[in-house]
C-alpha cells in the first residue's frame, strides 16, 4: 500500500452501489409479470365466455363503476404526492417529506378501504363463477401489492427521518416510488380491464 502523507486529504469514497434500487426494479419487474399473467388469463377467459354467447359477469352481481373510479383517481393522485416526497427527501426538506409521505400513505390506505367496501357491495360470490375467481384473485393480489408498497414506503421514511440529513436516503425513496408507480399502473389496468370493460 502506498504511504499516505499526514494531513493529506483522503480520497473521496467510492459512491455506494445502488443495490436497493436495482433490487427494487427487479422485484417490480417480477411483480408486473405476475399481474401480466393474471390479466392474460382474465382477458382470455372473458373473450372465450363472451365468444360462446355466455355472460361473463354473473347477472346476480352488481359491479358499479363509482368505487373503482374513486380508487383509480386516488391512485393517480398518489403519483404526484409520491414524487413530491422523493423531491423533498432529495433536497433535505424534512417537513415536506413528512407531509408528502403521509398523504401518499393515506391515499394507499383509502384505496384498500374503497376496495373492501366495493367487495361488500358488488354481490359477487367467489366460488360461483370463473369471473369471480379471477376478479378476486387479481384485486386481492393488488391489495397485497398496495400493502407491500405502504410497508416499503414506511420503512424508507423511518430510515430517512432517523437521520440528520434525510437526503442520504434518496435512493431508498426512489426505490419505494418505483414500486409505488407499478402499484398505480396495475390498478389503472384493473380499472380498465375489469371494471370498465366488465
Amino acid at each position: 500500500m502506498a504511504d499516505i502523507a499526514v494531513g493529506a486529504p483522503l480520497a473521496a469514497p467510492l459512491p455506494r452501489q445502488r443495490t436497493l434500487l436495482v433490487g427494487t426494479v427487479l422485484a417490480t419487474a417480477a411483480t408486473l409479470m405476475y399481474f401480466a399473467a393474471l390479466f392474460g388469463v382474465y382477458l382470455r377467459e372473458r373473450a372465450q365466455a363472451i365468444g360462446s354467447g355466455n355472460n361473463w359477469i354473473p347477472s346476480s352481481a352488481d359491479i358499479q363503476l363509482a368505487q373503482p373510479s374513486v380508487a383509480a383517481w386516488t391512485m393517480l393522485m398518489s403519483v404526484v404526492t409520491m414524487q413530491w416526497a422523493v423531491y423533498s427527501v432529495a433536497r433535505n426538506d424534512r417537513s415536506h417529506a413528512i407531509i408528502a409521505t403521509l398523504v401518499t400513505a393515506m391515499f394507499g390506505i383509502s384505496v384498500i378501504i374503497t376496495t373492501s367496501f366495493q367487495y361488500t357491495q358488488m354481490g359477487l360470490v367467489a366460488d360461483e363463477s370463473v369471473a369471480a375467481t379471477l376478479i378476486y384473485t387479481i384485486s386481492a393480489s393488488h391489495l397485497a401489492m398496495v400493502t407491500v408498497g405502504l410497508v416499503f414506503l414506511g420503512l424508507m421514511a423511518f430510515r430517512a427521518l432517523a437521520t440528520q440529513r434525510i437526503s442520504v436516503q434518496t435512493d431508498g425513496f426512489v426505490a419505494a416510488s418505483v414500486f409505488w408507480y407499478a402499484v398505480v399502473v396495475v390498478y389503472v389496468v384493473i380499472w380498465t380491464a375489469i371494471f370498465v370493460l366488465k
Binding site: 452501489q17 443495490t19 433490487g23 427487479l26 405476475y34 372465450q48 366460488d127 375467481t133 430510515r159
Partner: protein, 539 residues
C-alpha cells in the same frame, strides 16, 4: 443493519481467536455462531451455494428414482398399472417427477453454483443481498420438502378422477410449489442484482466470464417466467378454496396449467447456464481464452430470448378442458419458429466451441468436467433436434396444403409426434444436459465451492454412467414416440394406437436401463461429494 446492507464476511473461528484473552464476554464482541446454528443463520454465499448444490443433487437423484419407477411401469405398457396402484398414483408421480427434477434439481444446482462462484468471478466480497439469498435458499428447501410430502400424502397437481386425491393435500402441493417458485425467484433476483451492481469498476457486462454472462441471461428469463408460474398457481389455489373448484383447480387442470414450465420452449430456459459452463470448461480444457466472446454472448442471449415459454399455455386455448391438447400450441406458427430457431442457435454455439478448439492449437485436457460438458452438448443437441421433429409436422403443413396427397403418411406421423412420448424424451434430454453441465461446473470449480478437488476416478465413472444412461433414457422415449407411444400414457391414452407394441416395450426397457445408469451415476457423484466435503473437514 437491514437486509440491504452487508455484514463483512468473518470466519467464526478467526473471530473467536481474535478476541482478547481477558474479555471474551458476548457483549464485548459479537461472534458468529458455529455448528448447526452457524449453518442455519449463515449468509455466507459460499456455504449457501454449497447447500444448494448438495440438496439439488439429492433432489435430482430422487426425481430420477421416480423416473425409474415410471420406466418400470412402461416396460409392460399394455398391462394396466402393473406397478402403480391406479392411474392417479401414476399421474401424481408423473407431475412430481417434473417439478422435482427441474425446480428442485436443475435450477437450484445452477443457482448454487452461481451463488458460490459469481461473487468470486466478479471479485466481490459476497452477493448483493446475502440475507435475501439465505432466505431464498431456506424458502426453496422447505417448499421442496413440503411439496414432496404433500404429493405423497395423496396430493399432487390435481387428480384424474373426482375423489382420487385429498383436496387439502392438493392445495398444499400447489402452495408448496408456489413456495419453491418464490424461493427460486428471489434467488434468481439476488444473482441478477449481484451481476448488475457488484462488478468492479471498469468491468462491463461483456467482460464478465462466460458463466456469469449466461447466468445474467438465465436469471433474466427466470425472473420473467417464474412470476407467471406463480400466477398460475395462485389462480388454481383460489379456485380450490371455494366449495367446489370450477375450472382452474378441477381434476387434472392444475398440472395442465403449469405443464408449460416443463415443456418446450421453457424447458430450454432452465438450461441456459449450460452454455456458459460449456464455454468456460471447454476453453479451459484447451488451455486458451475464449475467442469471439461477443458472438458467443449474443448466441446465449438469443437462446434465452427464444426459450422464454410462459406464453405457450395450451390450457387457455379452449374453454373445454377435455379439448386441451398440446397440439393446440404446437400448431402455432410462433411455436414452430421457436423450435427451429433454438436448434439453429445450439448448432451455432457448437460451431463456436469447434472454432475455439481448432484455433487453440492444443489437444484438450481430458477431465471429468470436460467429459460432462461434451456429453451435455450431445444431449442438448439431441433435445433440440427432437424439438425440431416435434414441430416438423406443422412446419411442413404448408407443403401439405399445396398437395394433400404429398407424403401424407409422413406428415401424419410428424403430427402425432407432438403428443407422443417424444415430448418427455426431449424434456429428459434437455434437463439432463443441464444437470450434466451443472456437475461439470461443480467439478471445475470444486476448490472454490467445496474447498477441495473432487475425485477424478469417481468423476470419470460418473461421466460414463450419467452420460451413457441419459442418452439411452432420453432417446428411448424419443424413438418410442415415432411408434405413437402417448406422452401421458395413463390418462385415457389410446394404447391400441401404438405401433409395434413389443418393440416399444423393448425401447422402454432400454430407457429403464438408461435411467438406472443415471441413478447409479448420481450415487457416484453423491459419494464423491461426501468424500470431498469430509476431506475438507479433515484437512
Amino acid at each position: 443493519m437491514t437486509l440491504t446492507e452487508t455484514r463483512p464476511e468473518t470466519d467464526p473461528e478467526h473471530a473467536r481467536a481474535a478476541l482478547p484473552a481477558t474479555d471474551q464476554s458476548p457483549a464485548a464482541t459479537w461472534v458468529p455462531p458455529t455448528g448447526l446454528a452457524g449453518v442455519l443463520g449463515t449468509s455466507d454465499h459460499t456455504l449457501i451455494g454449497r447447500m444448494y448444490v448438495l440438496f439439488a443433487v439429492m433432489f435430482s437423484g430422487l426425481a430420477l428414482g421416480l423416473g425409474f419407477l415410471m420406466s418400470l411401469e412402461k416396460t409392460d405398457i399394455s398391462a394396466v398399472y402393473g406397478f402403480f396402484g391406479d392411474a392417479n398414483e401414476l399421474f401424481q408421480v408423473f407431475g412430481l417427477y417434473r417439478t422435482t427434477l427441474i425446480l428442485c434439481g436443475l435450477v437450484p444446482l445452477f443457482l448454487g453454483l452461481a451463488t458460490a462462484i459469481i461473487p468470486k468471478q466478479l471479485q466481490a466480497t459476497t452477493v448483493a443481498y446475502p440475507r435475501a439469498s439465505a432466505a431464498a435458499f431456506w424458502m426453496w428447501l422447505i417448499g421442496a420438502f413440503t411439496h414432496l410430502v404433500a404429493t405423497f400424502a395423496y396430493g399432487g397437481l390435481g387428480s384424474l378422477q373426482v375423489g382420487a386425491a385429498r383436496e387439502a393435500s392438493v392445495e398444499l402441493t400447489v402452495l408448496s410449489l408456489g413456495m419453491v417458485a418464490l424461493g427460486l425467484l428471489v434467488g434468481a433476483g439476488v444473482i441478477l442484482a449481484t451481476l448488475v451492481t457488484q462488478r468492479p469498476a471498469g468491468m462491463d457486462l461483456l467482460q464478465m466470464p462466460a458463466f456469469s454472462w449466461s447466468m445474467l441471461v438465465a436469471t433474466g428469463v427466470w425472473l420473467l417466467s417464474l412470476p407467471v408460474l406463480l400466477a398460475n398457481l395462485m389462480i388454481v389455489w383460489v379456485d380450490m378454496r371455494g366449495v367446489e373448484a370450477l375450472r382452474f383447480g378441477a381434476s387434472d387442470a392444475p398440472f395442465v396449467q403449469v405443464s408449460w414450465a416443463f415443456d418446450a420452449p421453457q424447458v430450454y430456459a432452465w438450461t441456459i447456464p449450460l452454455l456458459g459452463i460449456a464455454a468456460e470448461v471447454f476453453t479451459s480444457a484447451h488451455r486458451s481464452r475464449p475467442k469471439l466472446f461477443e458472438p458467443m454472448a449474443a448466441l446465449v442471449g438469443v437462446f434465452g430470448f427464444l426459450s422464454f415459454g410462459a406464453w405457450a399455455q395450451s390450457f387457455f386455448n379452449d374453454a373445454d378442458l377435455s379439448a386441451v391438447d398440446a397440439h393446440v400450441v404446437t400448431d402455432q406458427v410462433v411455436f414452430v419458429a421457436y423450435g427451429l430457431g433454438i436448434a439453429l442457435v445450439v448448432l451455432a454455439f457448437l460451431g463456436w466451441l469447434a472454432y475455439n478448439a481448432v484455433t487453440s492449437g492444443q489437444r484438450p485436457e481430458i477431465s471429468p468436467q470436460f467429459g460432462f460438458v461434451v456429453l451435455a452438448g450431445v444431449l442438448l443437441t439431441a433435445a433440440v433436434l427432437a424439438g425440431v421433429l416435434r414441430v416438423a409436422g406443422p412446419a411442413l403443413g404448408v407443403l401439405r396444403e399445396a398437395d394433400a396427397g404429398l407424403w401424407a403418411g409422413f406428415f401424419d406421423a410428424m403430427d402425432d409426434l407432438s403428443t407422443s412420448s417424444l415430448v418427455t424424451g426431449m424434456m429428459n434430454l434437455a434437463v439432463l444436459a443441464g444437470v450434466l453441465a451443472g456437475l461439470a461446473g461443480l467439478f471445475h470449480w470444486a476448490p472454490r465451492v467445496l474447498g477441495g478437488h473432487m475425485s477424478e476416478p469417481l468423476g470419470f465413472l460418473a461421466v460414463l454412467t450419467l452420460g451413457g444412461g441419459a442418452l439411452l433414457y432420453g432417446l428411448a422415449d424419443v424413438l418410442a414416440g415415432f411408434f405413437d407411444q402417448p406422452d401421458r400414457f395413463f390418462a385415457g391414452a389410446n394404447l391400441d394406437a401404438i405401433d409395434a407394441v413389443r418393440f416399444v416395450e423393448f425401447l422402454n426397457v432400454v430407457g429403464l436401463m438408461g435411467v438406472f445408469a443415471v441413478v447409479v451415476g448420481f450415487v457416484v457423484v453423491a459419494v464423491d461429494l461426501a468424500f470431498s466435503v469430509q476431506a475438507k473437514g479433515d484437512g
